[in-house]
């Protein structure tokens, strides 16, 4: 099939999505072709719509249709606590948990010098504005650093802790350890060591 072919073009476009190889792209393309035209149009419209309608919340940098976002403007959330996450998907994962009632701040990445991601590439300035003296009615008492316990996530958390602590705001880090329901036998050594080191008296 020539590259000028609409099917080849769709396969090529689908193959650029993460986790979609050549064979999956082919399968998806033929599925789209076989599906009713209305369904294909709906998919195309949904793809364009996220770009047209979704922006960043000017307060917490989460993805939203309305600014401020639903979480920042919810009257019942605890405005004293801000949970810092790397990505919007992390925020959604925490919200699915359903127990956290504070606010969030989305960094849109983690520090990663090898990939050329420095502090200016993350939404750190916006976070500091929420906490800093420039915001005299700031009500934030605690910042929870909820980046992943990976090398980059830990480095980002350490970096933010050093920035935030001088402001007199309490800084905490999510716990690391053996996952609930996990088998000790299958947990990696680093996690086990951490779980032992961070043991709590009961």
């Amino acid at each position: 099939m020539a590259d000028a072919d609409p099917i080849a073009r769709l396969v090529h476009r689908l193959g650029r999505l993460p986790g979609i190889g050549e064979k999956s792209a082919m399968r998806l393309a033929f599925h789209i072709l076989r599906a009713p035209e209305a369904e294909a149009r709906e998919l195309a419209r949904a793809i364009i719509e996220v770009h047209e309608k979704i922006r960043l919340c000017s307060t917490c940098c989460h993805l939203t249709e309305r600014d401020p976002c639903d979480i920042c403007s919810a009257p019942r959330r605890d405005r004293h606590t801000v949970c810092v996450v790397a990505q919007p998907t992390d925020l959604l994962a925490l919200e699915r948990g359903g127990h956290y009632r504070g606010l969030y701040h989305v960094l849109h990445g983690v520090l990663s010098p090898l990939d050329g991601v420095g502090p200016d590439d993350l939404r750190i300035a916006a976070l500091m504005r929420r906490l800093g003296p420039a915001e005299p009615d700031s009500q934030v008492h605690e910042v929870i650093l909820a980046t992943s316990p990976s090398v980059e996530g830990e480095a980002t958390a350490m970096y933010l802790a050093r920035l935030i602590k001088p402001l007199g705001v309490k800084v905490s880090r999510i716990a690391s350890g053996v996952p609930i329901g996990g088998e000790l036998e299958y947990v990696d050594q680093v996690t086990l060591t951490r779980a032992l080191g961070d043991r709590r008296e009961i």
Copy 2:
């Protein structure tokens, strides 16, 4: 996230594609959101375009922009041989092999009574027109039945063989056996039995 949300809508639409679960759909949606808008528009356009531009070749029922398709209109192909396949993807797989120089016929499915797929749901009438007496200048000497060696594929091949043989056209079936490069040890019993039964003198 409300269902009226553009992201939720895109996740829902992507999740309807085959092999894309909820988590994959979410990952794809956020990738599309992070990608440049031009790239998202290209993907959306490619999805709509396959529906607008692709039709079935009136001769072989393969997907094509032009009718007759590139294969049916190629002057160098052997017009005496028609290879019958279930899906356009099967045709593409055979073409990738690069050794077959005849024509094709795409059934767009296989007989599957349990799923309610009968002979009228496949492009069998179009195949018979290519072979039948209504086409006095028909040059087809051999029909190769290249449906998969599954229950439905075999049944479809048997059904077609019974239809075509009375026309005086040679009918053949692709060989089944141990795949080239495959280890005997890992080949299933049915395939092994078939490979033994269909052994050839060398």
